[in-house]
């Protein structure tokens, strides 16, 4: 058992810790232990980070199982390996899960023990997804996130929680079903599930139609997760009806699996064929970007605005990938991380708001700033980050994504710019509606501002957002090697 495995399975500590508590323990105690459990992976992830920084390589490999056929052996090994991109996502995961535990303190009153148990299983799944260097292992952990998420939505969500949970289940189930078929199809050809091995095999393989077919399957599979319009409706529901602490994880990390998968499976395994899909991706990206933006404009629920904003932002990831060059990929990756941080922040704040006003309806809120300037300030900062204000991570990502797409597909880029303008419109509309203007809603009158420990998650997230925005190379340097491998194979 190497360090990486220890890291991936470290949430089990929390799981066991929580399970050992008696059923009657007060929520406060459960939360305290959950927090301890959450800190363990967080700490380990930073240890891993420093070790990786020093060695520039961290991998683990055990043989797992294999199939003998007449002529050859199909091998599936247990392979974990880090690269910059994965490490960044892992750090993001541990951070957001920890913060989500902090955020859930006031939200989760019903059966907290079970909540945190699911949460740790979810974290385990997410860490595994990002650490595995192998399609099969990836899928293994990928599916593992399904059940916990189902319950986190279905048991602790709001109003239509169960419908949403089932919707989530069906859509994601179908997505991973397609993914499984594609993985198996690739695995049979390549005889090995390892990403590198598949890449090497594919570079010697001429059957382009097959490769495109597989890539399209991956696109559909991760398109559900990302989500790509028109596969997005589940995700809007999750944003609206899941508890905010869970949405932090969902929007912050889970959706990122889609982006990561698209890059790792598409660009990472088919560097030569993947660029053929540039236009398709660009079209999809544009649709996402504009569709989400236009819909976000007219929503009257804050959570829906943010949900469609997510759809829109995912369009930028797609556009970046469609650039099929370093800048575009880097933009997509940056957007992945950045959107993770920003949406976590937004939904943390939404959680705080719901906790105090029990509504997120834009019509019913207004003048928040007069009673809660700090909360409003954070809301504004998060919105500004979301709309791509320079100095925050969103801008760097958008800039690079557009930079990438403009090299080969300037027309798409130019149309996409409309999305950038609309982003500003809907974010400001939503945020100014709740925080500026005349005070509305009785709950606002005696509302308390963010204070003490509540400031921590928001502050930490904002700090990271600004760090990346001001000094993007802090993240960029981590990614250089990953990007080189993605781009290196691109011949034509």
């Amino acid at each position: 058992m190497g360090l990486l495995s220890l890291f991936v399975f470290s949430p089990i500590v929390g799981l066991v810790l929580i399970s050992l508590l008696s059923n009657n323990s007060s929520p406060k105690i459960v939360q305290r232990y959950a927090l301890i459990g959450g800190f363990i992976p967080l700490i380990v992830s930073w240890i891993v980070y420093f070790i990786y920084q020093r060695n520039n390589r961290l991998a683990e490999n055990f043989s797992w199982f294999s199939y003998e056929t007449d002529s050859r052996t199909l091998v599936i090994d247990y392979e974990l390996e880090l690269n910059g991109f994965r490490l960044a996502l892992l750090l993001l995961t541990t951070l957001i899960v920890t913060l989500s535990i902090l955020a859930s303190v006031k939200d989760i009153k019903k059966n907290p023990k079970l909540f945190y148990q699911w949460l740790f299983i979810l974290e385990l799944g997410m860490l595994g997804v990002f650490a595995s260097d192998n399609m099969f292992l990836f899928f293994f952990f990928f599916e593992l996130t399904l059940i916990p998420m189902f319950f986190l939505i279905g048991k602790w969500g709001h109003v239509e929680r169960e419908e949403t949970a089932y919707k989530y289940l069906i859509y994601n189930g179908l997505g991973s079903a397609v993914l499984l078929i594609a993985i198996v199809a690739v695995f049979i050809q390549a005889g090995n599930a390892n990403f590198e091995a598949v890449k090497d095999y594919m570079s010697t393989m001429d059957d382009q139609a097959y490769q495109i077919g597989v890539i399209v399957a991956f696109l559909v599979a991760f398109g559900v997760k990302l989500p790509i319009v028109p596969l997005h409706s589940w995700m809007v529901n999750v944003h609206v009806y899941a508890p905010p602490a869970v949405v932090m994880i969902h929007a912050g990390v889970l959706l990122k699996i889609g982006a990561y998968g698209l890059l790792q499976f598409g660009a990472g395994m088919f560097p030569e064929t993947f660029p053929l899909l540039a236009v398709t991706l660009a079209v999809l990206g544009l649709i996402n970007l504009l569709y989400g933006a236009f819909l976000a404009l007219i929503q009257d629920d804050l959570r829906k605005v943010f949900a469609y904003a997510s759809v829109s932002h995912m369009g930028i990831i797609l556009l970046g990938i469609a650039g099929m060059n370093t800048a575009g990929y880097q933009g997509a990756i940056f957007q992945t991380i950045s959107h993770g941080l920003i949406s976590a922040l937004l939904f943390y704040l939404v959680g705080v708001l719901i906790n105090r006003t029990s509504t997120t309806n834009l019509e019913k809120l207004g003048g928040l700033w007069t009673t809660a300037p700090v909360l409003s300030g954070f809301f504004l900062a998060a919105a500004l980050a979301g709309l791509g204000l320079p100095g925050m991570s969103g801008f760097v990502s958008e800039f690079m994504a557009f930079l990438g797409v403009f090299e080969n597909l300037p027309v798409f880029g130019a149309i996409g710019i409309i999305g950038i303008i609309l982003t500003a419109v809907y974010f400001l509309r939503a945020i100014l509606n709740i925080s500026f203007g005349k005070r509305k809603g009785k709950a606002l009158d005696k509302m308390t501002d963010l204070r003490n420990l509540e400031l921590l998650p928001a502050g930490v997230l904002l700090a990271f957002i600004i760090l990346i925005g001001v000094y993007p190379d802090s993240l960029g340097q981590l990614l250089q090697i990953t990007l080189e491998t993605f781009v290196a194979g691109m011949g034509g």
Binding site: I170, P230, S233, Y291, F294, L295, L297, I298, N325, T326, A327, Q330, G367, W369, T370, P373, V374, G377, L384, L389, P390, G391, F395, V396, F399, M400, F402, L403, F406, E407, P410, G413, A414, I417, I418, I420, I421, L422, A424, V425, L428, R429, L432, S435, F436, G437, K438, R439, Y471, P472, D473, G476, Q477, Q480, L483, V487
Partner: protein, 612 residues
Amino acid sequence: MISFAWLIPLFPLLSFLVLILSGKKLKTVSGYLASLLTGISFIFTLGVIADLRSVTEYEATWTWLTIGTTDIQAGVWLNPLNGLMLFIVSFVSLLVHIYSLGYMGENDRRATYFAYLGLFTFAMLGLVMSPNLIQFYMFWELVGLGSFLLIGFYLYKESAKRAARKAFIMTRIGDAGLLVGLILIFWQTGSLSFTEIFQAVEQNEFAPGMVTLTAILLFIGAVGKSGQFPLHTWLPDAMEGPTPVSALIHAATMVAAGVYLVAAAYPLFLASEWALMIVAVIGAFTAIFAATIGLVQDDLKRVLAYSTVSQLGYMMLALGAGGYVAGMFHLTTHAFFKALLFLAAGSVILALRKQNIKEIAGEGRHLAITKWGFLAGTLAISGFPLLSGSFSKEAIFAALLEDGQYGLLGVALLTAFLTSVYMFRLYFMVFHGKGADKPPKSVPVSMKIPVIILAALAVISGFFATGFADWLAAEQEYAVLHHSPTWLIFLATLLSLGGIVFAYFIYVRKQMDREEWKTTFSSTYTILYHKYFIDEFYQNTIIYSTRAISYLMYYTERYVVETIAAFAAGMVKEIGKTGSRLQNGRVQTYGTVALLGLAVIVLIFVVRGGYF
């Protein structure tokens, strides 16, 4: 000193950070702290300018972001143009800080106010020192943020909320153009650094047509920021912000950033005749367009706002006609006299608590210093001989003449006449009349000092025209100051004085009844009063069509996407229902189904000749 230039923007940033993080704890000292830090910044600026006389160009960069093999730098870049802007910004900002000490008085949120001012100053200073387009763009947006925050400072007002949002979005439309422009430039030249772009222009590395396209895209950015037609509508609305803010941001510095952008990227524009042409035409049109609106507006600050739009049009016109020095010189003088006008107007508003000039009706005459300050500004902007405005305007006319743009010259001259008419209309209506006689409450000293300093500058700065040209020429060979022939000077002076006299007869001597004018030219008046219905036009076209698209997508989502999903789910359920209905509990049905199934299968075998 120059190697410490990077510190200049950091002091205001420090001010921002300290004040925003401390919340209300530092409320009482916030203004002094912010002013102090801005003052330090100003002192550094002076030091840097002193150095610039010998160094002329200085660049210090470090890697900000690596994209593949390309490193994008961040840093400071100093040359005469930057130095000039640096001076204007830090100077006006300092004055406005001092002025605000009085103006914001006991406002409960003044710590926030000064924090925002600090943020803005930081961004503006960073902007003018940017060595490359991306850093420029970043600060450009941050400047917009500062402006947005300050416009919306009175956040409980619905109108402030709307104005702030409008400002941000309108300028963002321009910014989008700028962003596209700079991305295209990057793919043309492989760099975003100004110097490298200029080299590429010189060596014709651009693809055909790209120079014009990129220049125009950059200009779109400038149009948004500088309130040029057709993206000007946010600027008058921006007057919802506190008046010192209007002076700093919406008169002297930020709105001039668009002009600065054109100037900073001037070699690019010079390489394309079309781009220059468009700059000139848009500038000229905006100048006269805004001036006509200014004639009939009743809000003190709005008239000044339209005047700003108009003057910015002048600057663009100058740049478009090759009058680089003229444009920048007008920017400089305008910064002084427009800041002066706004600060003076601020004193009036603070003292009288009203800003509709019909309601003021001359009440401003009791404020002596303000009145004289305002007069100085008005004379300067009207191009009264020997005041700063006359020099810079004359340089613009000369540049136009030199360039052979006679049509545009005509427009410019007409605008000069209109300018003096509406400015003196404003002056007369605010400071001459029979309004209430009770003396208003006096304004604090901190508000008087900046007015006095600026008034002095508005009067005398014109005499530095030649030195100014030499300063800029140290680096750029296109920095030439044009001199007008005597007849042009004479004509310009005549028009300026004519406007003053015209206004005097209408508004002071009341020779012609204003109401009569309104009725005679009622349709013209209506159009002008409603600012050519541009806002309404946007509302009915762009905004409505956007909403229409939104609803279209909303219904697509609701009826197409959801229906397909519901159909799939329904189909599954239907199959289940059928299967379950077949399961009727009678074993003979089961047998029949099985045997029928078998029969069907056998039949298929038989029909297909044994081939399945």
